[in-house]
């Protein structure tokens, strides 16, 4: 049954890792905006005239 000490130790370590990543997420501002990323991920990347973005009319 002493294995329980180890198991609890391991499980708590894993849990604390998750807690730390949560704290990191909050501190790095990921909770600032919970709407825009959901829209942003639906935008398609479009081929751009690399280098000269202002090169007049493109194809419609």
């Amino acid at each position: 049954m002493t294995i329980i000490y180890m198991l609890i130790g391991i499980s708590l370590t894993v849990a604390v890792l998750f807690l730390t990543s949560f704290i990191w997420a909050v501190k790095s501002g990921q909770y600032e905006d919970d709407y825009t990323p959901s829209v942003r991920m639906l935008f398609d990347e479009e081929p751009t005239g690399a280098g000269n973005k202002k090169s007049g009319k493109g194809e419609a």
């Binding site: 949560f22 704290i23 909770y31 709407y35 829209v39 398609d44 479009e46 973005k53 009319k57």
Partner: protein, 814 residues
């Protein structure tokens, strides 16, 4: 610019850019119709840069923002490139990278996000742009050698997303949002989950064996997990209770703190003395649930600003004339005796004397007055007015912060954060009552058990204290109010926070501003007195008006509907009026000295806005512009009276409208005229001193003092993202007629809270009974706590939604 003029259109076409209905002659580009050159220009710009995805993102909706035809002047934003301005505007500066944060009220859909994040395709100096949609903010990173701040602002204006740039960007500190609640909640949730796992052996009979062997170990791990919750997550409750006690004031956090402290200490003692099971799972759980309540309570409208002062309306810079040279200067450096030039649609930033030009000052943001006021050289123009028409020259006579209007903000009301403490929330009242009852019962239990069984006495006493934590009580208020907030939001009534809803429910006096609040700030009634004008004469008048850009002329032009006839010899006399010959008849329209007759000049009230008309050199009559009362006002006043509210009207104008208002409001209402902004503030203060709970409904900067002073200041606006003075709630003018209903709804929400309180008391009674009998155990606590929490939250949420449903306040689909 191609304009394939097509006149074969039968139906009105919709603008490809903004979706508005086009006028009779739409403009064409690529066979797409546009309502104005502004929209067309945006389309052509986007087309040229391969950005037409913009139009395809939102199905069926045209995303564009109608671009005002007034072109952005080439050098309008050059002041932004001055180092002093940049230092304050930029959030990051280095040689190769500048960052800036703008607020863009115009963004409203995913297409907007897409376009704004593709700014780099329109200006190759832009490195990246990121949108924060809930806050309507965009953060732009750019290369300072490749582009300039002024270019970016000009570009944003060109595509219809002009950022707000104002004095407060320079003087105010940037607010940082507080994320500690997320951290506290996360930590409490984490500890709750783990302590509960460790407490499992206590819950079940088969855990006996495990408990024997690991009880101590589990106990100490639980303490290690509960400590951060006590020291960090639960800190807010203890602090608030302590603050309250210092002011000899018991709030709901007092019993919560007592309960939490008792839970923790009892558990600590039980573990150390090896007595067995502890309450730490309940402790962390309670903190977790109550923090959810706090988190819900924080729901607000990020994009709406409730704390604006005049600085949010005033511009950053102004054109100063020095020795005949124009120089752009920051408004905050403006000092008396400086000469300034104000162009069309610019704002007068300080009290000043008009030196040159004919001024037409639009005070609609200050007083709500819809008709611009004419001013002649030598007259004082108060800060906050917007010039309409030609550019004028002024001499500043007062500092920006000492002007007639802006000195309102020097009043001490603005110095402190508005507190809703004085109102005494329901929950706080109940909290005080709750703690006295539990303490009494605890003492009673102690007295009863001590002579019989000392062990039992201590157990009963601590159990009663443990149950004293009114977790469920503290949850019903935030859940009810945040739901009420959402329901109000669906009706275009935006509250700053839940406390405001509670204040609305308790108010007994409602004070209205007149101009702009009871009247429309965008609509005027035009009446005519004098010799009757027949259709022919009206069409003559309208033909002359057609050529004038003067705001009064345009107002009158759209009021008259007759056909326009061709004419000649049009002329506009600055500050006087317009004239012209139509079909040989001379028509003069303008001031009394220009188009009126001599005897009219005496006796006529100079306060009303009038336009005189003479036809064929003979005086004909006068058009009077007056404010238009909002639709449904009478019905609203009737409903408010039925609710037993005391009503009052404050007006900055003369008492010409007294009889009209008396008819609507009745004789018992207090009607006051000639009220200065400071008078309005003083009036509210006086009402509050007399013990009334006051709601102030206003719209302009001149109501800002009264809005701040009142228990709940509501600012009414035509566009929610437009400017509103500092207030507690923003009401869209379209929902004005529902105002009485909103008040009623907030009162019924309070009843929902009371109902949830009763449910929660039911659980507390069970807990207390068991506690007094000495039968309260950690297992019972672990069962009772989540059940009571969930049922109270359900009662609150369903209750308030049911009330809203009953009152028809659910968002109606278009």
């Amino acid at each position: 610019m191609r304009e394939s003029a097509s006149t074969l259109v039968d139906e009105k076409e919709h603008c490809y850019h903004c979706g508005d209905e086009c006028d009779s002659t739409p403009l064409y580009s690529d066979e797409k119709a546009f309502c104005c050159t502004g929209c067309q220009a945006v389309y052509e710009l986007l087309y040229a840069n391969n950005l037409c995805t913009y139009y395809n993102l939102e199905a069926g909706e045209k995303p564009g923002v109608t671009v005002k035809s007034e072109e952005v002047q080439a050098n309008q934003f050059t002041y932004l490139d001055e180092p002093a301005t940049q230092n304050q505007l930029l959030t990051f500066q280095s040689e190769t990278l500048h960052k800036v944060l703008f607020q863009i009220p115009g963004m409203h859909c995913s297409s907007c996000i897409w376009l704004l994040e593709n700014l780099f395709k329109l200006d190759n100096g832009v490195i990246e742009s990121r949108v924060n949609f809930p806050r309507k903010e965009i953060s732009v990173s750019f290369h300072p050698q490749k582009t300039k701040l002024s270019n970016i602002v000009t570009l944003l204006h060109k595509i219809g997303y002009g950022p707000t740039l104002n004095l407060s960007d320079l003087t105010g500190k940037k607010k940082k949002r507080d994320y500690s609640i997320n951290l506290k909640l996360g930590l409490a949730g984490f500890c709750f989950g783990n302590t509960m796992l460790l407490a499992f052996p206590d819950y079940f009979a088969f855990g006996e064996e495990v408990k024997q062997e690991f009880g101590h170990f589990f106990g100490y791990v639980s303490i290690a997990l509960a400590l951060p919750v006590l020291l960090y997550s639960a800190r807010g409750f203890f602090e608030s209770a302590w603050q309250g006690l210092k002011q000899k004031h018991v709030n709901l956090d007092t019993p919560i703190s007592v309960g939490l402290a008792a839970l923790f200490l009892v558990s600590l003692w039980d573990i150390i003395s090896g007595k067995g099971p502890c309450y730490l799972d309940s402790f962390t759980g309670l903190v977790f649930f109550m923090l959810i309540g706090k988190y819900v309570q924080k729901t607000t409208y990020d994009a709406l600003a409730f704390d604006r002062d005049y600085k949010a309306y005033f511009p950053i810079s102004v054109t100063v004339l020095e020795k005949g040279q124009e120089k752009i200067t920051a408004v905050k450096d403006l000092t008396p005796s400086k000469r300034i030039r104000i162009r069309n649609h610019e704002l007068v930033p300080a009290d000043a004397i008009l030196l040159r030009g004919s001024a037409f000052i639009d005070y609609s943001f200050v007083s709500g007055e819809s008709v611009p006021v004419p001013k002649v050289a030598g007259e004082i123009i108060y800060a906050g007015g917007r010039q309409v028409g030609e550019s004028i020259e002024l001499e500043v006579i007062k500092d920006v912060s000492q002007s007639y209007l802006t000195q309102l903000w020097n009043n001490e009301v603005f110095q402190k954060e508005k507190s809703y403490f004085g109102v005494g929330t329901y929950a706080d009242k109940v909290g005080g009552w709750f703690i006295s009852v539990t303490l009494l019962i605890a003492l009673g239990a102690l007295v009863y058990w001590v002579p019989r069984e000392t062990d039992m006495a201590i157990k009963a006493f601590t159990s009663v204290l443990v149950i004293a934590c009114p977790c469920a009580l503290s949850l019903s208020t935030p859940f009810t109010l945040s739901n009420a907030l959402k329901i109000f939001g669906g009706q275009k009534f935006y509250l700053k926070n839940g406390d405001v809803a509670e204040t609305l429910a308790k108010a007994d006096t409602i004070v209205f501003d007149k101009t702009g609040t009871l009247t429309e700030s965008t609509q005027t009634d035009i009446t005519y007195q004098g010799n009757e004008l027949d259709d022919y004469n009206k069409s003559l008048v309208r033909s002359v008006l057609q050529h004038s850009t003067h705001p009064l002329s345009q107002g009158l032009y759209s009021f008259l509907t007759q056909k326009v006839r061709p004419g000649s010899e049009y002329g506009e006399v600055a500050g006087q009026g317009v004239q012209g010959k139509v079909e040989g008849v001379l028509v003069k329209i303008g001031s009394s000295s220009f188009a009126g007759s001599a005897q009219l000049m005496v006796g006529a009230s100079s306060l009303a806005t009038r336009v005189y008309v003479s036809i064929g050199d003979e005086y004909n009559g006068v058009f009077t512009f007056s404010n238009h009362y909002r639709e449904g006002l009478e019905q609203l006043v009737k409903e408010l009276k039925q609710q037993g509210k005391k009503l009052a009207v404050l007006s900055g104008d003369n008492d010409a409208e007294r009889t009209n208002l008396q008819r609507i409001f009745g004789y018992e209402a207090d009607l006051r005229f000639h009220q200065s902004p400071a008078d309005k503030l003083a009036y509210i203060e006086q009402l509050k001193k007399a013990g009334h709970k006051v709601i102030m409904v206003g719209d302009g900067l001149n109501d800002a003092g009264a809005l701040q002073m009142s228990d709940a200041g509501i600012s009414i606006t035509n566009s929610v993202n437009g400017f509103t003075p500092g207030c507690d709630a923003i009401l869209d003018s379209g929902s004005f007629t529902n105002f009485a209903k909103f008040l009623h709804f907030s009162r019924r929400s309070m009843n929902v809270i009371l109902g949830a309180f009763i449910v929660s008391f039911f659980y507390n009674v069970i807990g207390l009974t068991l506690a007094v009998m000495g039968k309260f155990t950690p297992v019972i606590s672990a069962i009772l706590m989540p059940i009571s929490t969930v049922s109270v939250v359900l009662c609150s949420v369903l209750g308030v939604r049911f009330v809203a449903y009953q009152m028809g306040l659910f968002k109606t689909k278009k």
